[in-house]
């Protein structure tokens, strides 16, 4: 049976209270939004969601990866190929990026079902991720949120099957971002709601109900994209969704996560669903689409997954708007970012298994695990006799540490450790921990992050975070 066989979510731990945007101190319980911090972008968010989705699963089964985002770090150079390398999926994987609309995630999900159904793919990993930027102090800045969701679609023992889908397309300049622009633009919001969002959503819902022969009352969970809380409530009411059925839209906690928004609501619905529930998912962006799922008995048997609830429970509150501005690279600096060609592409190429896949090597002679790859064994000096071993899904232990105030970062110090992973020693930045909490023996797990922007492009590597409980 074809269906969703696993899911994962990632929401950045950093939350920006709307009060801080307004120049006031954070208020516990007040509205906030999730913010990709300086070492995060759509690729790192998506990679994290995918790692959570693939937990304890055989990654070699994945033969297609679709990365959906409107904030791809590169207009030319594929995010899906990068993330496939991060996940160590091997070479025999079809990779593709879906972009251009906040609907890219749901259209990717539908494409995944079509590919498996047609027999052209065995197991498709769909990642929807966005980290959209809005002008400082604008309404959109307060409204947006960052995050990612990932789904595995396979012919196996699914937790949810696809019941049907319907899409409508529309050409309208309501919300847009021209190539090269940093900030999302929007026409007057009343125009967006009245002439684009409302009619497109109603058209997609009507078309779906007609083609599926179902009605809104048939669905126990209804997850609706909407630009904001008010339009969400308006649509839910007009569509006849009962309060019980409405999937909480997470405004004031996550924010409008663009391409990831509707997929994250689907993850939240799956986390809470019991077997045999019908889930309706409606998404918007240059048209609208509706996708419907039915959960199976397996929904309760899927092992522990880091979904929306797990992510929302981890928080670090930004206290100062200046910190946010610095982290987003929006503060004026003495020197313009250089136009140098960046790190050597040939070095990045040679070291991609180490730096992107975090593959160490295990000596076939003495068994020692080491990082990075070297010709001679660090321990017994045997030559060229190693097996590669993936370290990214292992945990490490801090051997020693320092707090570096010299390395350029918006929030010094940079916490730097030597971390031991089954004998391999890795020079590793550790984040999402306060300096005074770092200790020898601290257990860490690996997260894929942006390490710097030499050459005006993101350069990625791994960091550690304290191993979550």
């Amino acid at each position: 049976m074809i269906g969703i066989t696993s899911y994962g979510a990632y929401i950045p731990r950093t939350r920006l209270p709307l009060s801080v945007i307004g120049g006031r101190p954070p208020k516990e319980g007040g509205p906030e939004r999730a913010v990709a911090w300086n070492d995060e972008d759509a690729v790192t968010l998506g990679a994290a969601a995918a790692i959570h989705c693939l937990k304890d699963l055989d990654r070699s089964q994945v033969d297609m990866l679709i990365f959906a985002s409107t904030t791809l770090p590169f207009q030319e150079k594929q995010a899906a190929a990068l993330v496939a390398r991060v996940l160590d999926l091997g070479r025999d994987v079809e990779t593709t990026d879906h972009t251009g609309s906040t609907r890219a995630g749901t259209s990717a999900l539908r494409a995944a079902f079509d590919a498996v159904k047609a027999g052209s793919a065995r197991s498709v990993l769909v990642i929807a991720s966005d980290a959209r930027m809005a002008a400082p102090k604008s309404g959109m800045e307060a409204n947006f949120g960052d995050g990612a969701a990932a789904f595995l679609v396979s012919d196996g023992d699914p937790i949810a099957t696809l019941e049907g889908a319907h899409a409508v397309s529309d050409e309208v300049t309501d919300v847009w971002r021209p190539a090269g622009h940093e900030f999302t633009h929007s026409w007057e919001d009343r125009f967006v709601i009245q002439e684009s969002f409302t009619p497109n959503m109603h058209a997609a819902l009507a078309g779906f109900f007609e083609s599926s022969g179902t009605q809104i009352e048939d669905y126990q969970r209804v997850a609706l994209y909407a630009p904001d809380a008010r339009s969400h409530a308006g649509l839910a009411k007009a569509a006849g969704v009962t309060t019980d059925a409405i999937q909480p839209p997470l405004y004031g906690r996550l924010g409008n996560a663009g391409t990831a928004f509707a997929p994250l609501l689907l993850v939240a619905a799956l986390e809470a669903a019991r077997p045999g529930e019908k889930i309706l998912l409606a998404n918007f962006g240059n048209g609208a689409d509706v996708t419907a799922f039915t959960t199976t008995d397996a929904v309760e048997k899927l092992g522990d997954r880091r979904g929306v609830a797990w992510n929302l429970a981890r928080r670090r509150v930004v206290e100062s708007y200046d910190d946010y501005i610095k982290a987003k690279g929006l503060a004026a600096t003495e020197w313009e970012a250089g136009t140098n060609p960046g790190l050597s592409a040939t070095i990045l190429f040679r070291e991609r298994d180490d730096d992107l896949s975090l593959l160490g090597q295990q000596c076939n002679q003495c068994g020692a695990i080491q990082f990075p790859a070297q010709r001679l064994c660090e321990t017994c000096f045997a030559k060229d006799d190693f097996a590669r071993v993936r370290l990214s899904d292992r945990t490490g232990k801090v051997v020693t540490y320092t707090f570096d105030f010299f390395f350029p970062t918006p929030n010094p110090p940079t916490i730097v450790t030597i971390t031991d992973v089954d004998g391999a020693r890795i020079h590793l930045q550790v984040v999402e921990i306060e300096a005074e909490q770092v200790a020898i023996g601290q257990e860490v797990e690996f997260v894929f992050r942006k390490i710097h922007e030499s050459g005006g492009r993101p350069n990625y590597y791994w960091k550690g975070i304290p191993k979550p409980d």
Binding site: L343, S344, I347, L348, E351, D354, D355, A368, Q370, F371, P372, E378, T379, V399, T400, Y401, T402, F403, D404, F405, F406, F407, P408, P413, T414, V416, I418, G423, A424, R425, I426, H427, Q429, A435, I440, I451, H452, S454, N459, Y460, Y461
Partner: protein, 388 residues
């Protein structure tokens, strides 16, 4: 392996020179090389270097001009001029290359010149190297501070112990005419200063400066032909080590290359009781903790006991085994390639009894040791000098 003591006493230092270390905005590398070399010529009584110098060993960490920079500055052409680099241990390695070339019978008299000119780069400390995505941040403070958490955890030392080293080296630097910083500091100054990479603050960190230092080496049987009292090279060595950041069994309580080089050079010199036989030492205090670890790694005191000996004043000018009598890298300055040669310069002054206000008493009949480490650290060079 060849008998290590075979090099002992074969080579003597007959002249040393050192330019003023500091932010030498108005001096080029050539200017500093000429100052250092001509002081060494004068010290050795060399009046015709074109005839009297057989070969030159020069080196720097930052220069990319190779041996020509030194050869051209001194117009020493039509003779072998070689350039070597070994990070911050470059200076001691240059001495070693010179000693080996004479001991091998290739030359009678050679000139060694170490120098660096970091202050042309527009940054106050070393640059943050960003040429990869791994191993970041890449600053010496970040490398050397990695031994602090482990050492403090195991032996209970802390920043208050490091402060005493910084205060000592600031005091000693005030007594050295050619030092960069001549400013005593208090414990209050130490704790008020900003942190660079915990636990290192500003006063734990060496002053990166411009500078050049030179030495004239000759066959010991020819040494008496030169003007000053010669100083014998008892041993000199260099040891390479693994990158401590990926070394699978590094304990971050000492630096391996220092221990390895110590074993080798003490055997060359015949040192069996370092604390009793060594009268003065210049050690690599790129950071205060590096000096502390070196007290232990060179056998001046037991591993883990440095803080007690620091408290006793053992390593102060009037102490039992004075260390960094000219202020060390901390205040004399650290022009990377020059530092190992500068240490030899100071030890020669001390052994000759010409160190002025910073002269160590009771150094007669004892060894003078200079210790350099380089890289993460991934290398160590040690030179042992003596009068008899």
């Amino acid at each position: 392996m060849a008998k290590r003591e075979s090099i002992r006493d074969k080579v003597s230092i007959v002249g040393v020179g050192c330019c003023h270390f500091g932010e030498n905005w108005d001096q080029s590398p050539s200017d500093m090389i000429v100052d250092a070399a001509f002081e060494a010529y004068a010290d050795a009584g060399i009046e015709n270097p074109q005839e009297q110098i057989d070969a030159v060993f020069t080196g720097s960490v930052y220069s990319n001009k190779g041996p020509h920079e030194c050869a051209d500055a001194l117009k020493l052409f039509n003779k072998p001029v070689s350039f070597a680099t070994n990070y911050c241990a470059t200076g001691t390695d240059l001495i070693r290359l010179g000693v080996m070339s004479i001991a091998a019978g290739l030359y009678d008299t050679v000139l060694v010149v170490g120098y660096d000119k970091p202050k042309d780069r527009g940054v106050s400390g070393p640059s943050v190297v960003v040429d990869r995505v791994r191993d970041l941040p890449q600053t010496p403070a970040g490398w050397f501070s990695l031994a602090a958490a482990t050492y403090f955890d195991k032996y209970g030392a802390g920043r208050e112990d490091l402060a005493k080293i910084a205060i000592k080296n600031h005091a000693n630097g005030c007594l050295a005419p050619k030092s960069f910083l001549k400013r005593p500091i208090t414990e209050e100054d130490y704790f008020k200063a900003r942190i660079i990479s915990w636990p290192f603050g500003l006063y734990d960190s060496a002053a990166q400066t411009d500078g050049a230092a030179a030495a004239i080496l000759t066959r010991s049987d020819l040494a008496s032909q030169y003007s000053k009292e010669p100083v014998l090279v008892k041993g000199v060595t260099v040891r390479a080590g693994p990158n401590p950041q990926k070394d699978p069994n590094n304990d971050f309580l000492s630096w391996k290359p220092t221990a390895w080089a110590r074993d080798d050079v003490y055997e060359m010199a015949g040192i069996t009781d370092a604390r009793a036989e060594i009268g003065v030492a210049q050690v690599h205090d790129c950071f205060s903790l590096t000096e502390l670890l070196t007290y232990e790694d060179l056998g001046f005191c037991e591993k883990g006991s440095a803080k007690e000996h620091i408290a006793d004043g053992t390593f102060e000018l009037t102490g039992d085994l004075p260390v960094n009598t000219d202020g060390g890298l901390k205040t004399f300055g650290h022009p990377t390639g020059a530092t190992g040669v500068r240490m030899v310069y100071e030890n020669v002054q001390q052994l000759r009894g010409l160190a002025g206000d910073r002269q160590v008493q009771g150094v007669d009949g004892k060894y003078a040791v200079s210790h350099n480490i380089g890289g993460h650290p991934t290398a160590c060079g040690i030179a042992v000098l003596g009068r008899q």
